[in-house]
Symmetry: C2
Subunit: 275 residues, 2 copies
């Protein structure tokens, strides 16, 4: 594939995987998308913690820590800026949903170029829309970053306009949850709110980092149940993910938002980057 | 893998697939499990129709019909009994949920041996349990056989006892939907009921075939919203899928069921097999 530089499976340079891998057969696995800056994997400890939570939730054995970290370090070394995507699958099995007694999980690591024009923690406002697609409700999978991503694929297929940066997703009950590939924050009366992720959504690493940074700076942070009106009526709005960091929202559908004081303060906390 | 005889990708003998395939990355695709008997793919037209419905629902291009059927025929030819599993994925793309403008879907075909001891449409009663795992609610994916199968994987992981043949799944609201790898039918007052699949579940090919056969034989058939009590209080209970055909339930949790007149009549309609 153009744009992909390298791929490894279990540490070996390799671009093809056994078709019996349960990642392909059932989406039986997890993934992490990692920003590499100056050869360093940003927020690795938070990514690793989420991967471990995902393993527990899915009943997968934990990856061998030292080996995995060595593989990631090798892929990140000497990269001024790059993206690593780590897939961690349940490995191969015979046909059928039953997992093998002896799970041999597989690590698939992909390194790609840093996206053109993507500046981390940029103050440039995003233009976003509401997606019509509604997220599935499944408390058992909520928060973790598993490989069953048809919700995101279907939602992302709703727009082609390159001027639109992201789409916001609601759940089956109309609660606002997240962006297709980002988490959402809003500010109301000086308090930072981000949607609760009890029934669906991904608990993003940058979301966690921002919540911790905001709390450390004395900003009140709440995980809230929110609907469309809470978002459209917010004083400030921003999105975040591991690659772009945090980015203010300038336009949601027809409505304009200013980059307000809480967003500006958090942006200044993020720059220069505190990993 | 032991137990797997052969694998093809887009008609070429091949056991490894590009790690950038969106089937692996996101579960962006569909599958069908096909019974081969005497070199013939059973109920292929129904499988094909469901695959096409899946393509429409996911926005995937339809597979090239003649080519696909030729590949399936080649894999099925001279096989007294075998199982074919066809995966149909969105093909490769760069990182990110956005599909490429030019989707090059991939056909992955796996042929495996017929499961030892599996007799089609056998009158031998099954022993089944209730799964604790609840299916995700997602009307947009209900009925089709897509590759996001963590629900089934997690449910199937609830039992190891080989004496247990299947587990029944409820949705987030407690409605009974299906077995982990089968559809459910119950008989009450001579009427055949099977769960509605508006919010989740797979519309099985054998389910469709049984509904059509029952109706043709003058048996009333209803797709119903059902809860646990409807199942435990049923006069007769049976499961079906493309491999085992239909099979009466003999025990659900502690409760015993008799193979009643409607089940027996349907079993006789299925034997000798009318494809």
């Amino acid at each position: 594939m153009s744009g992909i530089e390298s791929a490894w499976i279990n540490g070996e340079a390799q671009t093809r995987i056994d078709v019996h891998d349960r990642g392909l057969q059932f989406g039986d696995g997890l993934f992490e998308t990692l920003a590499v800056i100056d050869g360093r994997i940003m927020h690795w400890e938070r990514h690793r913690a989420r991967l471990m939570r995902g393993c527990q939730r899915l009943g997968l054995p934990e990856p061998p820590r030292e080996q995995l970290e060595r593989e990631l370090q090798t892929a990140a070394a000497d990269q001024p800026r790059a993206v690593l995507k780590l897939l961690y699958t349940c490995g191969c099995s015979l046909r059928g949903y039953a997992r093998p007694d002896d799970i041999r999980a597989q690590r698939v690591l992909l390194r790609s170029a840093w996206p053109a024009g993507l500046e981390r923690h940029s103050p440039a406002g995003l233009r976003i829309i509401w997606c019509r697609h509604r997220l599935a409700s499944q408390p058992r999978l909520a928060g973790i970053k598993h490989l069953n991503r048809l919700d995101q694929v279907l939602a992302r297929a709703e727009w082609q306009d390159p001027e639109i940066n992201e789409g916001l997703l609601r759940d089956q009950d109309g609660h606002v949850i997240e962006g297709v590939a980002s988490n959402l924050f809003l500010v109301r009366n000086g308090v930072l709110h981000t949607p609760r992720l009890d029934n669906c959504g991904v608990a993003g690493v940058m979301r966690e980092h921002l919540m911790a940074s905001a709390r450390a700076a004395g900003i009140e942070v709440m995980e809230s149940c929110m609907d469309e009106n809470d978002v459209t009526g917010a004083d400030e709005l921003f999105l975040c993910n591991s690659l772009m960091g945090m980015r203010p929202v300038a336009r949601l559908a027809g409505q304009r938002y200013e980059t307000g004081p809480v967003t500006r303060r958090l942006l200044s906390l993020m720059n220069p980057e505190s990993a």
